[in-house]
Symmetry: D2
Subunit: 258 residues, 4 copies
């Protein structure tokens, strides 16, 4: 399927590892020029090297994706992006009673305020150029909040509301705004969590992995390349009528009818 | 993007016109062998002829997609489908007070009971063969019911519930069950509705069309080929982690956050 | 709190036992005249006797609440109801593959078609008299369908869609249409299920009950009188601005944010 | 209906006017001792005077409900609240492009961080005492975000997610956490908005009000006392099985099925 985006330009936050990296791979394969971003020069250099196998321009920007400095560098490398991937880590699980004002404020800044500030710099140009694909990697939790994850789900759901409103005002300019809600993909993060479970509960790595797989109705973890290709589809020319959606990639695990 | 389904076999209900026809086109392009279906031999023959341009086998089955006879013919033409498109028309708008028991029972039979009976014949084989992609074309109304459309939205939402439950039990066999929720695509149906509005309100065809376009936040009707390609993506090998979803293709028009 | 409905008249389907019976009790206490209904004369007579302790008129109608004959008898006993409770049993759990066409059609008739036919007889008068409170007891499943419960959740969700549409067209006449979604109340039904679990799994009754309680986030089953009072509130004069709602009474168990 | 809360103690934020004031009235009538709060001594004194007509203790706390100082004063006046109403104003409509980082951060602090900090001080005691009713007045917008209201809907939806998670962990202690979603009640605010429309569009006050009424499916604005009584019901002893709910009081206006 021709996605109709060869030659387009994308800025991809937090894209040197895991799901963000898979998104980069799928776009590069489709001929999209990329600005990738990660926190360390090592990660960024490695990603740029690997992605250079594709016949596209790949630029790396090292830095925390939530800072104005990094936004400046990303936009310097790609002043007129057609595609923007919003992505970033989240704070660790914290019981409600131990949420710290400073930690909450920082999570709100990094996960909610910062993406809004970047969008304000990117959206007007997309609207003028009559093409934009904005995709946020958030979490399945935004539809079913977990009591231990308030520090993460609060800012993520807040951003969800802002993006939902934004989507309604820009779709007439062929700018779409969608979110992807992953649940348990086979990335470094799930491997780290499996190792954590090994230590905490004295099980083997294989047992910890089997538990992860059993927690998903599909009976397996998601493959990052599946995620990347779904992202590429949402970025395609022919996805311009799909906006304001929250697409779950969770192996059918969500209980809700909607 | 390689969807990984070349050589797969699909049964597509009500696929000689409109959105169903667009789904057939996108799958044929990806190398999927098709059984198409329509109510008249003329429609079916025309669709088969046109789809033959692709290098796939295309078989036509004439008949009402909601009858056991048609199901028999479809399964005779393709005993082991990998992909199933559930699609069909709906009853006309009817005020609540004028809903007739017979019309309601018939709508339930055609829109809800019949698809379930067909699924019972198709799903076990998909599970055994460890591949299945079941997609239903329903309506944006299932998330925001309209008082004039009870005859249609009732059965459609009933089916939505059954499919949601089914999705949870088969995804472990790589069988996914998703729905697509279109709003105002540029098919025969919207053209008929525009002509109806011309007569009822004494406006020009262009004015009636402009009203349709203005009712969509994207400011335009959807293009059938956009719908077809989204369908093809949901049928892809790499969409196996996406199940139980209700994907809206509505030009960003839905008001809800989820 | 004065609910402002003393002297109003209510028809309550399936109200001699369980949640329906609790609804009758709460309304009688508020001075609402009642028509109660159950399948056996014994149940109906007992309920009428008990409810007679309140200073209201109580009439009993014996019969299957899904039949036209019973509807006729209910409306003969109360030609101008202000309040209508839609309630009824459901079919047993059935795997998708074993759903029988006849059983599905019967469940649709009893759970979806029959209530619509009764509403068509009741709603116009409520609109004329500018007061109506229609409440349906459905199931928490309508928001999170269970694969074993297609026979029940399909018709219930279909009815949910019809009621959602209806609610939008009658609220201007002070007629509200709401649903209540219970999860595990301490009625005969949960006691039967506990006894079933005793036999099937060889546990004690107390163990079976403890499992039921543990499955609810509140750590307990709901009390029928809690349900009855929530119903009474939805029927109150001051609940006229609340319509189209699906109120869950589930001890906080639903996972979804909405 | 006896709500079973006579003698309980409530802290009600922003409760000297509008919906908060109506909540105070309904609780006072049920015999709940109150701490009311408003920004000016005049408002607070007037509310205390009026509420003194009921046979309950009423204490007034003057101050911005989002500050630690006000929280201190509220908890000094009522160290062991059984009921907590979270309520507060919101920022003005602002287009996405004009959202200011400082204004967004301030809205997050006032609408999301501050309530969380107050809850951390209140919830443990409620859990120990095995009774708590936490109700937040939010907005219908949290389910259908408006592009002009990002400054308000973002923080409100963020808080919704945190409260949804919290509700799941405390309901076992008979502490419920619910939200109320009002749409157009007849308070000072709607009157101000009508006067604003008069000026901006040159219509009469009556015309501006008629437009407000026509925007609601019920054809009227809500009455504050309807809101207050729904709040009182959610605070009742018998509402302990209802938690994690988002109850819309919108005259049936929401389009969504759920």
């Amino acid at each position: 399927m021709n996605l109709g985006i060869a030659g387009r330009r994308a800025i991809l936050l937090a894209s040197t590892r895991g799901l963000g990296r898979a998104c980069a791979e799928s776009l590069a394969r489709e001929g999209v020029h990329l600005v990738v971003n990660g926190r360390t020069a090592g990660d960024v250099d490695r990603a740029v090297d690997e992605l250079d196998a594709h016949d596209v321009e790949v630029t790396g920007v090292v830095g925390d994706a939530s800072t104005t400095e990094t936004h400046d560098a990303l936009l310097a490398a790609c002043p007129e992006p057609d595609i923007l991937l919003l992505n970033g880590g989240g704070p660790p699980p914290t019981p409600f009673g131990r949420i710290d004002e400073a930690a909450l404020t920082e999570s709100l800044r990094a996960t909610m305020v910062s993406p809004i500030l970047l969008l304000q710099r990117v959206v007007p140009g997309m609207c003028e150029r009559e093409f934009g694909r904005i995709v946020t990697i958030t979490s399945a939790m935004v539809k079913s909040p977990n009591p231990m994850m308030a520090l993460s789900v609060g800012p993520r759901l807040g951003l969800t509301g802002v993006l939902s409103g934004l989507s309604k005002s820009v779709v007439k300019h062929n700018v779409t705004v969608n979110q992807m809600l992953p649940e348990r993909f086979d990335t470094d993060r799930q491997q780290q969590m499996a190792r954590l479970v090994m230590k905490l509960r004295g099980v083997t790595y294989e047992e910890a992995r089997a538990e992860q797989e059993a927690s998903i109705k599909a009976g397996r973890l998601g493959r990052p390349e599946e995620f990347g290709d779904a992202f590429a589809f949402l970025c395609s020319a022919q996805a311009g009528y799909i906006s304001g959606q929250n697409l779950q990639l969770d192996g059918g695990s969500d209980e809700g009818v909607f």
